[in-house]
Amino acid sequence: MDSAFIIEKSIFIVVIFAITMIMAMYSTWAERKVAAYLQDRVGPNRAGWGGLLQPLADGMKLFAKEEFEPNTKNKFLFFVGPAIAMSTALMTSAVIPWGDKLELFGRTVILQATDTDSALLYVFAVVSLGVYGIMIGGWASNNKFSLMGAVRAASQMVSYEVAMGLSIIALLMMTGSLSLKEISVQQAGMDWNVFYQPLGFFIFLICAFAETNRTPFDLAECESELIGGYHTEYSSMKMGFYLFAEYANMFISATIISVLYFGGYNYPGMSWAVENWGVNIGNVIGIFALFAKLCFFIFFFMWIRWTIPRFRYDQLMNLGWKILIPLSIVNIIITGICILAFK
């Protein structure tokens, strides 16, 4: 391993980290703007042009707030909760292929931090760890409402992980690989997986909503019943971390959806662009194509949030266990039959 390789990867990882943070920051702004648009309001418009500096102002405000600590014996766990939530939200971006490759300074730079054989499983592992941040934080708060919120969040995430995994299995039967890079390469042109797996995509999308604790599945922080859910006792930047982790998660799951089902960095005519305009330009357009797709999905997350009301808890569990899991098993059977019939 030469040092140039290590430097290249380190720079790449730092850039990805920065982009994730900036996207999470501006998602908060976008959420307010989308909410305002859907409710016929203006939204933030004082700080900077169109309120573009609003996220910075919010961050400043959160840093400047008084840090409140509840009367608990578990100070350390109280402190660790938001840190786990934030780091698991950021860890997933390591295996996502953001583009094909670039040629810089006579080197071929692959636009992916690491391409492991089991990338998709890694994503699942990190997603399942996200629960710890919420559970530990909620429990260490020493507050009944926080604990209720944490328990709700955990049981919801554990139950929707099952359906999510099953919907992915149908996709894997088609691609035959767990590497996200290879899944992207297979979808070159307009050969997107969503055309072959519409049902699987639908199930995955619903589960992504549940995993990120977004409306209509945000029972963990249901204001009318639980005050603020698991982060009731948190203030200042610790609370900011929880909120930030939610937006980072949303960004990552939008990216995973676009990589798995919507062709990743592929766009129609990509091979032509790479041939005629050079590798760099063709692939930079690819990166922008991926970002356009994932921005659409982030918008979709917000659109749903301000359109559909919250589920009741028993409805949520019924949907997860009695509808989505059987549906995804049916999807696996249909996919198996189709693979047998057409290949």
Binding site: D117, S118, L121, A125, Y132, M135, A154
Partner: protein
């Protein structure tokens, strides 16, 4: 000392210390959290063996599913010091004796065992790949694999059956 050896010692220290802390900490939730860290360091050991798939599946199954349900149950049970079961003195004495005998047996086994790890053969095959693992599991070890899954299914159905309330006759 090579980097891998250093990583091994660090991981081993974490594994052993968290395993002991799991037993020694008074608070059951702290025990569970130490156990989670212990599982993570074991996943690290798997990675040192180049067993990527095993490491990730270990994290998904143990840390991601089983321990979360564990934590869940402990949090709901609300265990207090007052509820702690006080064991009679004879049980404690018995436990100490059994521990001493068992550790004597284990230590003699470790002392008398010879290292039989010879030189490694390079087969040129990538044993990390999931494809290879899947083919071996579903061709060579098909029957035990299926039996294991049936066993899990039986356990699941049994739990549902046990926890289901019987209809009371009024």
């Amino acid at each position: 000392m090579s980097a891998i050896l250093i990583i091994f010692y660090v991981l081993a220290a974490i594994t052993l210390s968290t395993a002991f802390l799991t037993i020694y900490s008074k608070n059951p939730i702290h025990s569970a959290i130490y156990l989670v860290i212990c599982f993570f360091s074991i996943a690290g050991h798997y990675l040192l063996f180049n067993a990527q798939f095993l490491a990730i599946v270990h994290i998904i199954v143990y840390s991601g599913a089983i321990m979360i349900l564990f934590l869940f149950t402990i949090m709901l049970m609300n265990l207090n010091k007052e509820d702690e079961v006080h064991k009679p003195r004879i049980t404690r004495l018995g436990a100490i004796v059994v521990f001493c005998v068992l550790s004597a047996v284990l230590i003699t086994i470790f002392i008398n065992s010879k290292t039989i790890v010879g030189d490694y053969d390079t087969t040129g095959e990538d044993f990390q790949s999931i494809k290879k693992l899947g083919k071996i599991l579903l061709n060579e070890y098909m029957v035990p694999f299926e039996f294991a899954s049936v066993l899990l299914l039986v356990a699941m159905i049994g739990t549902v059956l046990l926890s289901k309330k019987e209809k009371t006759n009024k």
